[in-house]
């Protein structure tokens, strides 16, 4: 199994989620994060003073899938999250050794 971690622009969340359900990915976990990268943060001005906001709000999605779905998922996320702007984000893929559904104790692919 794989764990796909995607850092995306907050307002692309619904797009991505729909794209994922289209390929049959039912669940995911979302975390509010702040990102630092190529994209320059914006500046805010208070009483004439400039403040550089370097950390940009992003959403981190964690999606556990079986091996074959993983690739589709990556493609789907890219398509749904991409606006071809700096700051669109990144996708990271990890090997997931095991998954257990707490309620039933099912493990492996059935747990997803």
């Amino acid at each position: 199994m794989k764990m796909i971690v995607a850092i995306i622009q907050p307002h692309r969340l619904d797009n991505v989620r729909e794209a994922l359900s289209d390929i049959g990915v039912a669940g995911l976990t979302v975390t509010e994060v702040k990102g630092y990268g190529r994209q320059k943060g914006h500046t805010e001005i208070y009483r004439g003073a400039e403040y550089q906001i370097q950390y940009i709000p992003k959403l981190k999605l964690e999606i556990a899938t079986d091996d074959k779905t993983a690739e589709q998922a990556v493609v789907a996320i890219r398509a749904a999250a991409g606006q071809n702007k700096i700051g669109d984000g990144k996708i990271f893929v990890f090997n997931l050794e095991d998954a257990i559904r707490i309620r039933t104790g099912e493990s492996g692919d059935e747990a997803l």
Binding site: E44, I45, Y46, R47, G48, A49
Partner: protein
């Protein structure tokens, strides 16, 4: 005693307390980092409590008891002699003392904005307490207590000099002696809750009606004229600030607009008994512009960390209104004009002397107060405390736990 006047000043007293609690407290708390929100609220309310007792014990008598030109007498220590029949003008004297107490509360509280996020809690209490006795009480006597500036015919209706110049100048002195916040100016973080700043500013605006219109100590046309002039100055200065930000940065900010509001209110304060509606608008224009520039100069050019711009907004605003007043007394309708036989020039000179001497005394006395405090309990928190935030390190609390 006049019941109508009494009713209005009872109300005005409540409004002026509302300015500090929670108005000013929220205005300041929203401007700091979230890890210091409680420390600012705590400093405001603790200073308010201490100031109340000091005013009761010594402040009122030093300011308003008959004395010489420089300081009031001591016959009213602990409000001695004030019973249910004592009157002051058309008011029960107990009410006059109480109304003035709310001014003695907000004035030292105003200074807090200059030294937030890095000062010891004990130092705030000590400095503000000494300051109330050494700076505020005497200056109040000079201007409102029949002292030498009153003799000279100075005009300061609601406290441009007594409140804003004293607090503004002293605040800057303290900020300089304390030193800037870690990372100032490059790495300072922006206001953590602009919405809270706006709520505080709104309550200050509403409460200021009690401050300025209440200073007529009567429910009459002077109170009415003071209220409309005050309101128009606040509205105008707010729009001035909005316009400046729009043209300079393209985006007018909420924090900017409400800073303009306070600038307009501070500026009209000394003149609110003298000018009419048009005068209020002009004072708002002047106050908005001058205070905006003052923020630039002090923070950007001089790089002094008067953190929440107490001098630039309050001190400079109050002084501007005090000095412009002679010229606006007869502009448009509703102004009072100047006293019989007083020329604009004379009056301006008097006003100038008042501002200068009060500023000088405020600075001098504050330097001594700060040195004393520093030697006794120290001024500044440790680096680690500043980094961790004063809410937990000094008050053991967490501001937000959602």
């Amino acid at each position: 005693m006049n019941a109508a006047d009494t009713g209005w000043i009872l109300t005005a007293t409540a409004l002026v307390l509302l300015m500090t609690l929670p108005g000013l407290a929220l205005f300041y708390a929203g401007l700091v980092q979230s890890k210091n929100i409680l420390s600012v609220l705590m400093q405001c309310i603790a200073v308010a409590c201490a100031a109340s007792l000091i005013w009761f014990a010594v402040g009122y008598t030093l300011a308003f008891d008959e004395g010489n030109g420089w300081i009031g007498g001591t016959s009213k220590l602990f409000l001695a002699g004030i019973d249910r029949n004592s009157v002051s003008g058309t008011l029960p004297e107990s009410l006059f003392a109480m109304f003035q107490m709310t001014f003695a509360i907000i004035t030292p509280a105003l200074m807090i904005g200059a030294f937030v996020e890095r000062i010891k809690f004990g130092a705030v209490i000590m400095i503000c307490s000494l300051w109330l006795v050494v700076v505020y009480a005497p200056v109040t006597h000079w201007v409102w207590g029949g002292g030498w500036l009153a003799e000279r015919g100075i005009i300061d209706f609601a406290g441009g000099i007594v409140v804003h110049v004293t607090a503004g100048v002293s605040a800057l002195v303290i900020a300089v002696m304390l030193g800037a916040r870690k990372g100032f100016p490059e790495k300072i973080t922006p206001p953590h809750a602009p919405w809270m700043v706006m709520v505080g500013a709104s309550l200050l605006w509403v409460g200021w009606f009690g401050f300025n219109a209440g200073s007529a100590v009567a429910a009459d046309q002077n109170a009415a004229m003071a209220m409309i002039a005050t309101h128009l100055s606040a509205a105008t200065a707010s729009l001035v600030w909005l316009a400046i930000e729009k043209f300079r940065f393209g985006k007018p900010s909420l924090v900017g607009l409400v800073t303009g509001t306070i600038a307009g209110l501070a500026t009209v304060t000394p003149a609110s008994g003298t000018v009419g509606p048009l005068g209020g608008v002009l004072l708002g224009l002047a106050g908005g512009l001058v205070c905006y520039l003052a923020v630039e100069v002090i923070k950007m050019r001089m790089r002094i960390d008067d953190s929440l711009d107490v001098l630039a907004v309050h001190g400079v605003g109050g002084a501007t209104g005090t000095l412009l007043l002679p010229f606006l007394a007869t502009i448009g309708y509703g102004g009072t004009g100047l006293a019989e036989g007083v020329t604009i020039g004379n009056q301006f000179l008097t006003q100038l002397i008042g501002v200068a001497v009060v500023a000088f005394w405020s600075a001098l006395a504050t330097i001594i107060i700060v040195l004393v405090t520093k030697s006794m309990i120290g001024l500044r928190v440790t680096n680690d405390e500043e980094v961790e935030g004063l809410d937990f390190t000094y008050h053991g609390e967490t501001g937000y736990r959602q």
